[in-house]
Symmetry: C2
Subunit: 329 residues, 2 copies
DNA sequence: CAGAGTTGTGCAAAGGTTTTCAGACTACGT
DNA sequence: ACGTAGTCTGAAAACCTTTGCACAACTCTG
C-alpha cells in the first residue's frame, strides 16, 4: 500500500492535479498551496510512481550506457563520468556490457532503447549501417567514434600523437611499430591514421605489425613478433596490449626501454603501476563520459538543435619509464 | 506512434486481453490463436510498454547494483556476473557507484529502490543499522558481507587462507604483516580474523601493520612502514594495495620475493600482469555476481522461503612469483 | 461599474497493460 | 435432450500520473 498522489491530495486538502503541479510546475501554484502540498509530501514520504509518470509523459528518466568490456580499465572511468553527470540531471543509468561482441550491440541497443530516453554508446564495434539504423530508432550519442551526423564525443589525438612521435624521434628512434587493435574499432583506424601522418611528417618509418584483441593476452601473444620486426620502439593500440608486451618482454629478458621503447594509449590506472611505468597517450575518461551525457541531454531536450552536436576532447602525452634512447644498432 | 497491444489485437483479430495472455500466459490460449497472435506480434514488431506493464503489475523488470568503486578491478568482474545472470532472466540492471562513500549508500539504495524490484548491494560500507533499515524497505541481497538474516553471498576464505599461511610457513616465514583495508569493510574484518586464526594455528606471528584506503596509492603510501616493521612477508587487504607495495618496494630497491614476500586478495586481472606476478587469494568475481542475482530472483519470487538464503563460494590460493623463501635474518 | 484579461484550481480523459469476471461455446454424462 | 463442467475469449476495471479544458475568482482598464 504505497502512498499515492491521492493520499497527498487528501492530506493537503487539494486535488491530485494540484499535487502534480506542485511537483512538476510549482510556479503555477499559489505559494501558500504549494507549501501546503509540499509539507504533505514530506510527511507522507510520497514519491511519484515513475511507471505512471512515464506512461503519460513518454519519458523514463533513464539513460542507457553500452560498453564493449567493463574489464578493460579504460571503461570504468567513462562509466563513472556518465554516472556522475546523469545523477546530477536526475537520471539513472542502465549499464550493459557487450563483451567485445559486435553482434550483440544492435540487439542490446534495441532492447535497452525501450526502457530509456536515450543511449550513450561507448566505442561501438558494429558497422556504420547498423549504427545509423539504431540511431534512427533511439536517441543516441556515441563515444570514441564518429559516423555521419550522429552526436558524438571523440578525443583528438593529433597533437599528442605528434608529440609522442617527436619524443621518440628525439630519442633516436627511426623505425616504429604499431600493434593494431580490433579492425572494426574506429579508434584503431584513427590511431593508425594519425600515427602514419605524424610518422611521415617526422621522417620515421611506421610499420603495422599485427592485429590483436585489445587485451593483455593479445599483447603477450604478439610480443615476439614485435621483437622479430626489428623496430626500436613500438606503439600499442592500448595500454592493456602495451602491458602485455612489457610482460612478455620481461619474460624474455628484453629490457625496456634499453632494448625497446613502448608506448600505449588510454592511460589506465595500471600504466603507472608497472615498472617501468608506461609512457602513454592519456585519454580523459571521466570527461568523455560526462560530455556524452551532456550531449544526450541536449539531444533529448531539443532533437533539432542538438541533432548533430559534436564534442572533442584532447589527449595528452604522459612520458614515463617505458621510453628511452634508441638502442644503437 | 509506437505499436500498442491494440494494434496487435486488431491485426490478429482478437481482443487486447488475448494478446496479453499470448505473451504472459500462453498456456491459457488455443494453440491456433496463440500462433496467430504471435505472428502479428512479429510482423508489427510489438514490444510491450514496460511502464504500462509495471504500473499494473508493480514490477519493473529491473534490478539495481551498487558497488563501492568501479575503478577497483575487482568490481567490474562481479558487475559482469550480475549483468549476465540478470539478462538471462530478462532483467535489466541499474548500476551505481558510491565512490567508497559510505554515507551515499543508503540514499542511493532508497533512490534506486523505487525503480527496481530489488537491489544487489556489493561490499556495502554502511553501518549494520542502516543496512537493516534499507533492507526493510526494499528487497536486498548483499555481496561480501553478512548482517543478520539478510540474504547474502560471501566467500569463504578459511581454507585458502590456511593454505596461504602454510605456504608462507613452508617458505620459512615466521613473522607476517597484514596491511588492513577500510575499518567499515566486513571483508577486511573477516580477512583479519581468519588470518589471525590461521597464523595462530601455524605458530606464526601476525602483525597488523596499518590501515589504508584499498587502492594502489594506499599500498604505495604504507610500503615503507611495512619495511620498517621487520617482517619477512606481508599480506595486503587486496591486490591493489599489494601492487602498491610492490611498486614502492621496487622503487626502493627492495626485491620481491628475495627480501620480502607479498600476498594479496582478489586476483584481479593485473595480479598476473606485474613482475613478479602477485601471489594472491583468488575470489570468484563473476560467480559472486551471478549468485547474487540468483538469490535476488528467489527472494522476489518467494520472500518467505528465500528470506534469509545464503550462498558461500570459496577462495583459491594462486601461488605466483611474489612469494619465496624467507630472507634468513 | 461592466468587460476583458489573468490567475489558481479542479474535473476528467488519456496513456498501455494486466486481470477479474462473466459469457460463449464445446463436450460429456445421464 | 438437457444440465454441467470445462475451455477459451472478451469487456471492463484498475494501476497512478499528467495535462487540456473549463470554471471561478480576481485585477485591471476605460
Amino acid at each position: 500500500m504505497p502512498v499515492t498522489i491521492k493520499d497527498v491530495a487528501r492530506a493537503a486538502g487539494v486535488s491530485p492535479s494540484t499535487v502534480s503541479r506542485a511537483l512538476t510546475t510549482p510556479q503555477l501554484l499559489l505559494p501558500e498551496t504549494r507549501d501546503r502540498v509540499q509539507r504533505a509530501v514530506q510527511e507522507l514520504g510520497y514519491h511519484p510512481n515513475r511507471a505512471a509518470r512515464g506512461l503519460i509523459t513518454g519519458r523514463t528518466g533513464n539513460i542507457g550506457l553500452i560498453v564493449p568490456d567493463l574489464t578493460n580499465p579504460f571503461f570504468p572511468g567513462v562509466v563513472k563520468g556518465v554516472q556522475e553527470r546523469a545523477h546530477e540531471a536526475e537520471y539513472s543509468v542502465f549499464l550493459a556490457d557487450t563483451d567485445e561482441h559486435a553482434a550483440a550491440e544492435a540487439d542490446l541497443v534495441r532492447a535497452l532503447g525501450k526502457q530509456v530516453d536515450g543511449i550513450v554508446l561507448c566505442s561501438p564495434r558494429m558497422s556504420e549501417a547498423e549504427i545509423r539504423a539504431v540511431a534512427g530508432e533511439t536517441p543516441i550519442v556515441m563515444l570514441n567514434r564518429r559516423v555521419g551526423r550522429i552526436p558524438s564525443v571523440t578525443i583528438d589525438i593529433g597533437e599528442a600523437t605528434r608529440q609522442a612521435v617527436a619524443h621518440l624521434v628525439a630519442l633516436g628512434h627511426r623505425g616504429v611499430g604499431y600493434v593494431a587493435g580490433p579492425r572494426n574499432s574506429w579508434s584503431n583506424r584513427e590511431r593508425l591514421r594519425v600515427l602514419r601522418s605524424a610518422a611521415a611528417g617526422a621522417g620515421v618509418e611506421l610499420r603495422e605489425i599485427a592485429t590483436v584483441a585489445p587485451r593483455f593476452a593479445g599483447g603477450v601473444a604478439v610480443a615476439d613478433v614485435v621483437l622479430a620486426a626489428g623496430v626500436t620502439a613500438v606503439v600499442a593500440y592500448n595500454d592493456l596490449v602495451a602491458l602485455g608486451l612489457l610482460n612478455r618482454f620481461a619474460a624474455r629478458g628484453v629490457s625496456v626501454p634499453a632494448d625497446i621503447s613502448v608506448v600505449g594509449f588510454d592511460d589506465i590506472l595500471f600504466a603507472e603501476m608497472v615498472s617501468p611505468a608506461l609512457t602513454t597517450l592519456a585519454l580523459p575518461q571521466e570527461p568523455t563520459g560526462r560530455a556524452g551525457v551532456e550531449l544526450l541531454l541536449d539531444l533529448l531536450e531539443d532533437p533539432d538543435r542538438a541533432g548533430s552536436a559534436r564534442r572533442e576532447l584532447s589527449a595528452q602525452l604522459m612520458v614515463r619509464g617505458s621510453t628511452g634512447p634508441a638502442r644503437t644498432a
